[in-house]
């Protein structure tokens, strides 16, 4: 039996704001009946203020309670205020959720994102949660969502990721990808912390450190993407901020190899190592 707080119990037995708003001007849908939980959120937004919110949930007790909590939290708030609500705050409102049920709060957050995107007139494809590559095929979870949840909740293990997003919870074939994403995020966090310690200014990299970071980024981030398409990459040399690489496999005779070089290799190195890195093909 789950250890649900009294607040969760109260909200699943007597959920508030259940139903449909017929003249809603923002609707967000997440999940599916196949996954085992789904949420549709209806908002009525006037003058930038959320006047009313209602929901319909297919899901367990904590999914119902999280949905109810979300609607209570956002009614009366401005869109800007609502945008800032994290799944963590939904959990706090509920007085806590069992670890394995954290994904219920994330589902609430996702539905809110989608509803607000819908209100702004963005199509679903443009909104944040459907961006990125699908990492968990079973539950359709993207890396964008995983990274966001990892950051917002300071997650430390792959198990946490599964509890919060369901990714990796079924067939388990993406667990190694989750591990990679987690490591990347932790590394990123580490370098942010380093920045903080140096007063926000990055110390210029030493040559040896730059070489290490370039090599790591190519191995951990870039190569897996290329290999998926049958390509590969080899680091030939690092000369100051000039990185010399060789594209291999399918990439070597690909007409768009130049695009790959700039949009993937250079972009990633600039993201993870230094902003003014230049990539040249051998």
């Amino acid at each position: 039996m789950w250890d649900y707080t009294n607040k969760v119990k109260e909200l699943y037995t007597k959920p508030k704001n259940v139903g449909v708003i017929d003249d809603a001007n923002a609707v967000g849908e997440v999940g599916s009946i196949v996954c085992g939980d789904a949420l549709t959120l209806y908002l009525k937004i006037e003058d930038g203020i959320i006047k009313d919110a209602k929901f319909q949930t297919f899901g367990c007790g904590s999914a119902i309670a999280s949905s109810s909590a979300l609607t209570e939290m956002i009614i009366g708030k401005t869109v800007q205020e609502a945008e800032k609500i994290t799944n963590r705050e939904i959990v706090e409102y509920l007085g806590g959720l069992p670890e394995q049920k954290m994904h219920c709060s994330v589902m609430g957050r996702e539905a809110l994102d989608k509803a607000l995107a819908n209100w702004r007139g963005e199509t679903i494809e443009e909104s944040e949660d459907t961006e990125g590559e699908i990492v968990c095929q079973c539950f359709g979870v993207t890396d964008t969502l995983i990274r966001k949840v990892v950051r917002e909740n300071a997650l430390k293990t792959v198990e946490d990721i599964t509890n919060y997003t369901k990714a990796g919870g079924a067939c388990g074939s993406c667990l190694h990808r989750l591990e990679d994403i987690l490591q990347e995020e932790l590394k990123l966090q580490q370098s942010c912390d380093d920045d903080d310690r140096t007063g926000g200014k990055r110390k210029p990299l030493t040559n040896i450190r730059r070489m290490q970071m370039v090599s790591e980024t190519i191995t951990d981030v870039i190569r897996p993407v290329l290999q998926k398409d049958g390509g590969d990459i080899e680091l030939v040399d690092v000369d100051g901020k000039k990185v010399l690489v060789a594209l291999r496999g399918a990439c070597s005779h690909c007409v768009s190899s130049n695009v790959t070089l700039k949009n993937l290799v250079e972009a990633k190195l600039r993201e993870f190592v230094e902003e003014d890195i230049e990539v040249v093909e051998q």
Binding site: I33, V34, G36, D37, T57, F58, F139
Partner: protein, 396 residues
């Protein structure tokens, strides 16, 4: 209704009053060790042997010593599988089913990781085992076949008698996990032609923490625990005397009350029939016939199992679900998936399991409460709205 309506007897059962009474002396005055030389301890051994005789009676064992007491159904399952495999180290093939209890399933997966070849026999949409598949999977390398007598989630009974007859001719050891059969249907290990048969006390009104494994005379098996001479060296450790005596009493009661199971069947059929009639978004999971009499598993569409359980629990009714959320595994029950039950209804599956203590009034009350629960959850569900828009209506 203030009291609890317990319809989760496949999870565990109430300890029978007679069982508690039979155990009391061994929890108070008669605390001796049956292995002791003095009468104070030695006399207790007679009670243990009487319990053994009673359990042998429940199973139809020819000799009392074919019953080995253990700590649980899980231990018995592990003893049976691992004990036989370690006796035949050269044979590297196990046959089991896709709907086994985790006690067998996860053990087989462990052996698979260790390099064993494991055949998981599939089931059809109603939960019936593919018998031909099973029989044709047996080969020279097969060390053991392990099949459950009745499934814990659907109650479907497997054709163990036919499997037993086939395997006996070929000399392949056969283990039956009978945890969900004991006390619900007649068991005769001689007729089933099995070498090993697992039961668990708390599933038939004994206490938790005691089980037994029937080991047919002459079965090649090694112990999985090493220690003293208890249970003829097959299961060392000082006997759980109160538990064993209680299970003996429970076994005798089970034999005596077996005819009552027809009343349980009638109650179950009424509950199930009314549910299937009352709601248009529900279907039966598992075969209608060839089931233990106490179990029904129904799948509700558009609503989720854990939520149903929580709402029922609020109203004093205890049941169980194969939904993903209720297990914390994120995927619905492996049994329902093996049967090919659509996810939409597996997520809303509810198991009611009755016992001989279940009354007419309890079934009435459950049937009275259920519509409001289902209706409320349908009202919350986004899918039901769509269905309604498509012109579908629910009878409540």
């Amino acid at each position: 209704m203030d009291r609890l309506i317990y319809l989760d007897n496949n999870a565990t059962t109430m300890v029978a009053r007679e069982v508690v009474e039979s155990m009391m002396p061994f929890l108070t005055d008669r605390y001796g060790n049956p292995s002791s030389m003095h009468d104070f301890g030695g006399d207790v051994e007679e009670d243990v042997e009487q319990a053994r005789h009673r359990v042998a009676g429940l199973l139809g064992a020819e000799h009392d010593y074919e019953v080995v007491f253990t700590s649980s159904g899980t231990e018995s399952d592990n003893f049976a599988v691992s004990g036989v495999l370690s006796y035949f180290p050269r044979k590297r093939h196990i046959i089991t089913t896709r709907v086994e209890h985790p006690a067998v399933m996860n053990l087989c997966k462990k052996y698979e990781r260790d390099g064993y070849r494991v055949t998981y026999v599939p089931v059809d949409r109603e939960g019936h085992l593919d018998l031909d598949f099973l029989l044709s999977s047996v080969d020279e390398d097969t060390a053991l076949v392990s099949v459950m007598h009745a499934n814990n989630e659907t109650g479907v009974i497997h054709p163990v008698e036919q499997i037993g007859a086939f395997l006996q001719e070929r000399g392949v050891p056969f283990h039956i996990d009978g945890v969900q059969a004991a006390g619900k249907i007649p068991i005769d290990v001689k007729k089933l032609n099995c070498d090993l048969y697992t039961i668990s006390g708390h599933k038939f009104h004994a206490m938790k923490g005691v089980g037994a494994l029937y080991v047919r005379r002459g079965t090649r098996i090694r112990p999985i625990l090493y220690g003293g001479h208890q249970e003829r060296g097959r299961r060392p450790g000082t006997e759980n005397v109160p538990g064993i005596v209680g299970m003996g009493m429970a076994a005798e009661l089970a034999v005596k009350h077996l005819p009552d199971e027809e009343r349980v069947r009638a109650l179950r059929d009424r509950l199930e029939g009314e549910i299937l009639k009352k709601f248009s978004n529900v279907s039966l999971n598992g075969a209608k016939d060839k089931r233990v009499p106490n179990t029904t598993n129904v799948g509700f569409e558009f609503i989720e199992g854990e939520a149903i359980l929580l709402y029922l629990s609020e109203r004093g009714i205890a049941a169980s679900s194969g939904s993903a959320c209720s297990s914390g595994s994120l995927e619905p029950s492996h049994v329902l998936r093996a049967m090919g039950v659509p996810f939409t209804s597996a997520h809303g599956s509810i198991r009611f399991s009755l016992s001989r203590y279940t009354t007419d009034e309890e079934i009435d009350y459950t049937l009275e409460v259920l519509p409001a629960v289902v209706e409320k959850l349908l009202e919350i569900s986004p899918y039901w709205d769509n269905e309604k828009k498509c012109g579908r209506e629910i009878k409540l």
